[in-house]
Amino acid sequence: MPDGAAPVLDVRDLKTVFRTRGGEVHAVNSVSFDLRPGELLGVVGESGSGKSVTMMSLIGLLPSPPAEVRDGEVILQGRDILRASPEELRTIRGAKIGFIFQDPMTSLNPVFTVGNQIMEPLRVHLGMTKAQAEVRAAELLDLVGIPDAKRRLKDYPHQFSGGMRQRVMIAIALACDPAVLIADEPTTALDVTIQAQILELVKELRKKLGMAIVWITHDLGVIAGIADRVMVMYGGQVVEQATVKELFGNPRHPYTRALLKTVPSLSGGRASRLQVIEGQPPILTSDPTACPFRMRCAYAFDRCARENPRRRPVGPGHDVACHWDPEPAHA
């Protein structure tokens, strides 16, 4: 992917907290990343690592209260949208940033036709007339591979299968030709064959339309198949970031390494037991002054409890937030 081009989305030091009775939960803690035009960024991490919350924070989709985006900058196409008014944000959502969610069975409104739901953003953001929107909606359904698109516009969501509904969701997300598509575990709720079809579809659409994609998942296999770059999250922080090849070939963070060992491999010669990462993900009730992974880390030493590691570059386009250095020279 084009390196050095101005990022379409640039996130700096994003902080989101949830106010709960038990105190504040620091769900997103100084997350920074950028997304270049046409790039596919994979975001991995276990449940509760802050992947979804980070993405929802960007465009004001978190219910507030209890959520509060406390700090940071989100530059979309040169403009800070974190400080935009709710009304401005609304014109960005669905128009410049499209969203696909995890469960296609519940993400569509059951009482409106699929056509109605695809036409809504077209009419609101692009000011199309009903007739124009209808033509465009049929094109979109056709684009995401739903046969007999024109007739199916009149169908209700329950008349579609899970995979087909996810295609409809993709059509809605892409309706206004957004610069960024955020896909929040879009294949997790689908069975494996449908998952593969959706992945193929997204790859194809990306080639055709050229939007940048953030793909949230906890499935490393999916990431390996489609991503250009990977960001690993743990405890509300980015712990490692690299190109896909670099990350799978040369993982530096102990968590990334552990994560890679949990993936079953078909090429491994002898049957070996899958590894698990012992322990529980951290509860993020305090502003972390220590490495969030230290309790589960095999390499933790005293500095890890004193100081939360900052991200440091370890190679071209590769940075990691860890005090421990796997290079033999320093070990």
């Binding site: 014109t91 969203f99 969610f101 469960d103 993400s107 569509l108 409104n109 059951p110 009482v111 609101v124």
Partner: protein, 335 residues
């Protein structure tokens, strides 16, 4: 949907026949005689003649079959006669009230408009108050507005109408002299002045009943809205960049209305049945008052006919609720 409706209507026939038999037998089992309100000075042989004249000495099944014929054949013919000036009814015997010797349907025809005006208006007002309150309470859950709404709904629902009725009379009628405490059935609306008078005298009973109805419906609306506001499709609508107004009043409301509309439809028979207690408190001469009077006077034909009409309405509005459900929710298809 059409075949479903027809099937349900056909099924309603045996249901209603069975209900009519049960009502007839149950009412007939009640102790007392239609003569109990006749002065004791009337000699026994005259009493016997009166009973024979009313047909009250006939065995119960004869009276039941006769009533069936009168209800389903004679009375409808009279209604058609009244509309089109035909003479289908001829001089066939109609269902007569034992109390007033007048045809039961004529009494209902006089009383029903009173009930529909007062109770119907109250129901409508109740719905119109309840929906916005329920929607806004849910949207701003735990806000002071929601807390206040919850408080009033709890009070409105748990305090009986005979208490709020008397309370309102004391406050608005006795102390403030704003509204009359007694409903004048004979008032005819002919001009603005009499219309204004009608509105005035309706105010108290409508307020009492509307409070009760609004309390119930606003609770259902609120909980239904709350359930739907948290749904994934609401998040999808926001992610599409829809305004809050569209998200709440289009996407969420349409889904939330499915159970609420059912509850409103199922509450409709009660409007026709009148609010027995409230009608008594404000002396509204409606259907509820007619039923109570008939029960006191052992006027079996009146009680049986009224009760059966309520049963018909309940069956009918159940069907209407089901059909509305199918219209509002595309996932439900009856065919």
């Amino acid at each position: 949907m059409l075949t479903y409706t027809i099937r349900r209507l056909l099924l309603a026939i045996p249901t209603l026949l069975l209900i009519s038999l049960v009502i007839f037998l149950l009412v007939d089992l009640a102790p007392g005689s239609p003569m109990s309100e006749i002065p004791l000075t009337v000699p026994p042989e005259v009493r016997l003649k009166m009973i024979q004249a009313m047909g009250a000495d006939q065995p119960v099944f004869v009276r039941y079959l006769l009533w069936l014929k009168q209800f389903f054949i004679v009375e409808p013919s009279y209604i058609i006669d009244g509309w089109f000036g035909t003479n289908l009814g001829g001089d066939q015997q109609r269902i007569l009230s034992w109390q007033s010797r007048a045809p039961v349907f004529d009494v209902i025809g006089q009383r029903l408009p009173q009930t529909l005006t007062v109770v119907g208006t109250a129901y409508l007002v109740g719905i119109l108050i309840a929906l916005p309150i329920g929607i806004y309470s849910a949207y701003r859950q735990y806000s002071w507005f929601d807390q206040l709404g919850t408080f009033f709904a709890m009070v409105g629902y748990s305090v009986p109408t005979f208490f709020t009725g008397v309370l309102f009379i004391v406050i608005f009628s006795v102390n403030l002299h704003w509204f009359p405490s007694i409903y004048d059935t004979t008032l005819k609306v002919t001009d603005w002045a009499s219309f204004w008078k009608q509105v005035h005298q309706m105010a108290l009973p409508v307020m009492v009943l509307a409070l009760f109805n609004a309390a119930e419906i606003s609770r259902y609306t609120r909980s239904s809205m709350l359930e739907n506001l948290g749904q994934d499709y609401a998040r999808t609508a926001r992610a599409k960049g829809m305004s809050e107004r569209t998200v709440v009043l289009k996407h969420v409301l349409r889904n939330s209305m499915i159970p609420v509309v059912t509850i409103i439809a199922l509450g409709m028979p009660a409007v026709f049945g009148g609010a027995i207690i409230t009608e008594q408190v404000f002396k509204v001469n409606g259907i509820g008052a007619a039923l109570i009077g008939a029960i006191h006077a052992n006027d079996l034909p009146m009680v049986q006919t009224l009760t059966f009409i309520f049963a018909v309405l309940i069956v009918l509005f159940n069907l209407i609720a089901d059909i509305l459900y199918g219209i509002l929710d595309p996932r439900i298809r009856y065919d």
